[in-house]
């Protein structure tokens, strides 16, 4: 393997990892706060992509400049997807938040199936063409280690990570989120508004997932109602790998998974593309179930 080829595979793995990270953040933040694996989260990524495509279609009838069109479509699709995340929590989780974990999990799986089938019926079961805004133009003259679409995905992901870190660390709502995830009862006793904070967590997770969905679609040029399922499961594996509930862990796990898939498909066979995630999941569950950065939290009474 030449150095250039190695770097190409590396960058492509990193790109995958970025997308997984954008989705995994939502899983891990929601889990941190209400200990729920939100199976419907992958569907938000899918809805982000579908709503973006529809908005582009509608807005392109208005004769707007291309950049303005994309900007408006992206913003509206993000808001729309955030609305879905918010509504899912209100409808499917809030009432049973304090019930057994299994009830919540079943509700989440039901929500996921409902959303998939809803998009299947309302849209189509076949692949849809998606305009490739993010072209694979090489950024450097005589090598194609890094292309424009990858650069956009990295920058967007890096920016979101930085914003999110600052948010969680320094803002009142960010602190409320951390307090809730560390000790829910105590958070309530210092006056954290539980419902509002949980809603905001779902909204933020949905925003990053929708951005991921938009970026991927604009890079690969097609979308499908099932896209959120596979990507969602992989991002979930990444979150578990890093230590579910842990934000830096989710990012680390995502990059490890992205790189593993990228090198695995190159060195072994692309037939196994979707297998690596499950191998990683099984390994981590055997070796360190709390994940790479997860702490073995003692059960709270």
């Amino acid at each position: 393997m030449s150095l250039e080829y190695f770097l190409q595979v590396f960058v492509s793995g990193f790109t995958r990892g970025s997308i997984y990270a954008l989705i995994a953040l939502g899983y891990t933040m929601v889990y941190g706060i209400i200990q729920l694996i939100n199976f419907a989260h992958g569907e938000i990524y899918m809805i982000g992509a579908f709503s973006l495509l529809i908005l582009i279609g509608v807005l392109s009838m208005l004769n707007l400049p291309v950049l303005a069109l994309i900007l408006i479509a992206v913003l509206v699709s993000i808001l729309y997807s955030a609305g879905y995340g918010f509504t899912i929590e209100r409808l499917a989780y809030r009432q049973i938040r304090n019930a057994q974990r299994l009830s919540l999990l079943i509700s989440a799986i039901g929500m996921s199936m409902f959303l998939q089938n809803y998009v299947l019926l309302a849209q189509t079961s076949s692949f849809l063409y998606f305009p490739k805004f993010l072209e694979d133009i090489p950024l450097f003259q005589n090598t194609n280690i890094l292309n424009a679409s990858q650069a956009v995905i990295f920058s967007a992901t890096a920016l979101i990570m930085i914003l999110l870190t600052v948010f969680v660390r320094y803002t009142r709502t960010g602190k409320a989120m951390r307090a809730l995830s560390q000790d829910r009862t105590m958070a309530v006793l210092v006056g954290v508004p539980t419902n509002r904070t949980i809603s905001i967590t779902f909204i933020i997770g949905s925003i990053t997932a929708a951005i991921g969905g938009g970026l991927v679609s604009a890079q690969i040029g097609q979308i499908h109602f099932y896209m959120g399922f596979i990507a969602g499961i992989k991002a979930f594996v990444a979150a578990v790998l890093g230590g579910i509930g842990n934000i830096p862990g989710a990012v680390l796990g995502s990059f490890i998974l992205g790189l593993t898939e990228s090198f695995g498909t190159t060195l072994i066979s692309s037939d196994y593309e979707d297998v690596f995630a499950f191998i990683i999941l099984i390994l981590i569950l055997i070796v360190k179930p709390s994940g790479l950065l997860g702490k073995n939290r003692s059960e709270k009474v």
Binding site: K175, Q182, D183, M186, V188, L189, V190, G191, V192, T194
Partner: protein, 236 residues
């Protein structure tokens, strides 16, 4: 200031408090003593809105707290420092204190209150950047009380602050409780198994057993009561 009137309260499985009536007046330190499982923590959780009330009423400054969310109760100035300290484990001392003042806006006043907490507990200032889970039991208890004070409580509910602490720390905590009331005019409702010292710092006391108030009165009188002596103060 606080009136608990014929309250029946508890959990889905069982009613724990039976016809409980307690009154705490402004500026008082009132102690609720009782053995393990008597219902002391449940009483405080009833006030702070964490427990189901089946009957009766809880009034603070004349308004009922029933059906009010815990966060609203905090806004009323009723601050609960729960059993077991419950320090946010991954937050620093400073962040834990900031959580206490999370509903307040006035930065200058918050800074002043933080200085005041550091004056009461100088060790917290030394440890200010240390993460909560790495503090000793005594330091965690100080931080828990400090975090409560950061909310500028009108009524402070303290659940067994002396539990598991070395005697010298117990002394320190009780004298701070006295100071909080004397210097800041904060009313304190204290729950303790350590009946002797708790009654010594308080004005009045109630005795709780199996969810019922058995006895109440001035602290000095309770300290001399034969039943209290035999059951809670150790035969002496």
């Amino acid at each position: 200031m606080l009136k608990i009137e014929s309250v029946n309260a508890g959990y889905r499985e069982a009613v724990v408090l039976h016809e409980m009536t307690i009154e705490v007046n402004e500026g008082e330190i009132v102690t609720l003593i009782g053995g393990n499982g008597a219902g002391k923590s449940t009483t405080l959780m009833t006030i702070s809105g964490l427990v189901k009330v089946f009957g009766g009423d809880v009034l603070f400054e004349g308004t009922s707290l029933l059906g009010v969310t815990p966060e609203k109760i905090v806004k009323h100035g009723v601050i609960h420092v729960p059993e077991g300290r419950r320090i946010f484990p991954n937050m620093s001392v400073l962040e834990n204190l900031d959580m206490g003042s999370m509903l307040r806006k006035n930065r200058a006043e918050i800074d002043k209150d933080r200085e005041n907490v550091f004056e009461l507990f100088p060790i917290l200032h030394e440890r200010r950047n240390q993460v909560g889970s790495t503090l000793s039991g005594g330091e965690q208890q100080m931080l828990a009380i400090g975090r409560g004070l950061m909310a500028r409580p009108k009524l402070l509910l303290l659940d067994e602050p002396s539990l598991g602490l070395a005697p010298i720390l117990v002394q320190q905590i009780f004298s701070v409780i006295r100071k909080i009331r004397d210097d800041q005019g904060c009313t304190v409702f204290l729950v303790e198994q350590n009946a002797n010292q708790a009654l010594q710092v308080s004005d009045r006391g109630y005795v709780l057993a199996t969810g019922e108030i058995k006895l109440s009165g001035e602290s000095d009188i309770l300290l001399k009561n034969e039943d209290v002596k035999n059951t809670y103060l150790g035969a002496s």
